[in-house]
């Protein structure tokens, strides 16, 4: 059926491979657990996905620009440790800007090495992943940091508060997604990122400042990490040195699930949101069903491949690759 649709060019929905996978998946899970689609649970999953989600928004832009960012995990550790540690030392109103600035500096280093020196982004951000993790450990002396007065600080609103009955992390995540979506689809900067990711040489020939655009994508990614760190620090009211360990891969998985091409030049913020939610719902759904944690990994394996496959198949108009 689907195959026939795909062949015929199909209605618009069949072209949204990820969306189809997402809907099928949500229906399956809701049949298997009656709690799954409850308002509480949906809110809870949205809230939980905000941290990964906010980071994924930034990484989506980096990837559309034709690069990768694997340093977001340890950068998150860095930012969270910093903001939590400074919270008690200089107060949240100073801690936040200081942390944001410091994180942007790390983003600027990435941007300089990749955008201006044109070094390979996979390896540079891998190196940064390691180096930043070391920096965090040196800064904190390997100790965890905690906010002592957890109830009396306004810092709590970012992770624990709510506005109009909706948890703040959700508002931040979805709000930011909307802003980025608008930037990427309707503003010159978004167009330039797409162009640079799609064909850097042609972009230069069109007078686009490639270095500056790439540099900016890394600054945006770092900014997203800083925002995620505020949510995280406020939600947990403390931080381990390696809170962000392995987050880079979850973030990347979400971006990929959203159908953003790793080759650069195409991708969509809103579909990244879908990818983030899908991963979060998998984790949540399987625990709701009482499955052991590793089934989550197995299911994620299958879902990633099937979803991206559907997406790729819809784009090329046939299910199997024509390669012999």
């Amino acid at each position: 059926m689907l195959l026939a649709r795909l062949k015929a060019g199909g209605p618009a929905i069949a072209k949204q491979g990820i969306l189809v996978a997402f809907i099928v998946f949500m229906i399956t899970f809701s049949l298997m657990s009656d709690r799954f689609l409850s308002a509480d649970n949906i809110m809870s999953v949205f809230r939980q996905s905000a941290i990964i989600g906010v980071m994924a928004l930034g990484v989506t832009i980096v990837v559309i620009g034709g690069n990768l960012d694997l340093s977001v995990g340890s950068m998150l550790s860095f930012a969270t440790v910093l903001v939590v540690d400074l919270h008690d030392k200089i107060g949240p109103e100073l801690a936040i800007p200081v942390m944001v600035l410091a994180t942007l500096c790390l983003g600027a280093i990435n941007g300089f090495l990749i955008g201006i020196l044109r070094l390979n982004s996979l390896i540079v951000t891998l190196g940064m992943l390691s180096a930043i993790q070391g920096l965090v450990l040196i800064y904190s002396g390997g100790q965890n940091v905690d906010i002592v007065d957890q109830t009396g600080t306004w810092f709590a609103i970012f992770g624990r508060g709510a506005m109009f009955g909706i948890a703040t992390p959700i508002i931040i995540f979805l709000g930011l997604a909307l802003v980025f979506h608008v930037i990427m689809t309707t503003m010159p900067f978004g167009r330039r990122v797409h162009a640079v990711g799609g064909n850097p040489t042609a972009s230069i020939f069109s007078g686009i400042p490639r270095s500056r655009v790439v540099f900016m994508t890394y600054l945006i990614s770092a900014l997203c990490v800083a925002i995620a760190a505020i949510i995280l620090g406020s939600r947990v009211m403390g931080s381990q040195n390696n809170v962000g360990l392995g987050y880079e891969l979850q973030v990347l998985a979400a971006v990929i699930l959203g159908g953003t091409s790793l080759l650069g030049g195409s991708g969509s913020i809103l579909r990244t949101v879908l990818g983030v939610l899908m991963l979060a719902f998998i984790q949540n759904g399987l625990i709701l069903m009482g499955q052991p944690y590793y089934t989550q990994w197995l299911v994620t394996w299958v879902v990633i491949i099937v979803a991206v496959w559907l997406d790729v198949a819809a784009k090329r108009g046939r299910l199997f690759s024509p390669i012999a």
Partner: protein, 301 residues
């Protein structure tokens, strides 16, 4: 500094190499490392080489080789994995270098090759937690468990001690589910949130350490269901201690990394001095609850 120290080594200075599991993954290990170095510096006759395996078994094996290569007098190892280090330990044993295992023990097969073990008894800690849970719930109730990073010895042993003892001591307490929190507070918080959605009635939560326990507590407070819920952890962290002081956290197991580190060094020195050291040197890790917490210092980590 290495060169100077090494050349200053005289006949009565001993060189001890330590390879740690994963410094920096949590404050416990960091504090341990610092305490160990302080203790060694306090003793003019000890020269230490401190290495970290970063949680990677293979790297720890290479570090064992590197230490054997340097011909140290004794090796202290905090195994990343109890079983996988057996041949490496055996190798050191063959080379005539005594091995002292610290914090979490080596597998049964390796016992004959080590000089001594020094550290807490993780299974016993699980047992303590089960006993506290039983007591707090009066033998009746439904609980969930949040474990450490899957596949690591400490996580496995604590869970094992807890599960076995709980089943034996109070069959009236049922475990609804067990999921990992990866030693990560945010992750534990997420896991707990899902538990709260899934189960209408949760009477108690056992977490593999207090860091995760506080994450679970945060989730319960946010859901407005913390009242009357029993939180029990292990490895008393400062956050756990504070939560206990506020009356939100029921109990934990007190384990001092400083004691741990000092005990390991002392055991190694005793072995080198030729004293008769018992194979298993557990240092005490008592239960800590809201009632007796004033007897303990607030943990530094």
């Amino acid at each position: 500094g290495t060169l100077a120290l090494a050349s200053a080594a005289t006949a009565d200075t001993v060189r001890i190499g330590i390879t740690q599991n994963n410094v920096g993954i949590d404050s416990y290990q960091t504090t341990y490392e610092r305490a160990f170095i302080e203790a060694a510096e306090a003793n003019p006759n000890v020269d230490v080489i401190v290495l970290d395996a970063g949680g990677d078994v293979a790297r720890q094996i290479s570090q064992m080789q590197d230490l054997i290569q340097q011909n140290v007098d004794a090796i202290i190892i905090w195994p990343t994995d109890g079983q996988a280090l057996v041949p490496a330990v055996r190798n050191a044993h063959r080379e005539g270098i005594p091995v002292i295992v610290t914090n979490s023990n080596i597998a049964e097969a390796g016992m004959e090759f080590i000089a001594a073990f020094s550290g807490p008894n993780n299974i016993q800690q699980g047992i303590y937690s089960a006993e506290m849970m039983c007591e707090a719930l009066d033998g009746e109730g439904q609980i969930v468990q949040i474990t450490g990073m899957p596949g690591y010895t400490t996580a496995i042993e604590r869970q094992q001690g807890f599960d076995d003892r709980l089943a034996e001591l109070c069959p009236g307490v049922t475990q609804l589910d067990i999921q990992p929190g990866d030693w990560n507070r945010e992750r534990a918080q997420r896991t707990m949130e899902t538990f709260l959605t899934r189960f209408d009635q949760i009477d108690g939560v056992y977490s593999g350490d207090d860091n995760m326990g506080v994450g679970a507590l945060n989730a319960a407070i946010a859901a407005g269901r913390a009242e009357g819920m029993v939180f029990i952890g292990a490895t008393n962290f400062a956050v756990g201690y504070d939560a206990m002081a506020r009356g939100e956290y029921w109990g934990s197991v007190y384990q001092s990394p400083v004691d741990d580190a000092r005990a390991a060094l002392q055991t190694a020195l005793d072995v080198l001095a030729g004293e008769d050291v018992p194979k298993l040197n557990y240092f005490d890790t008592p239960k800590i609850t809201q009632e007796n917490m004033h007897e303990f210092d607030r943990p530094v980590f």
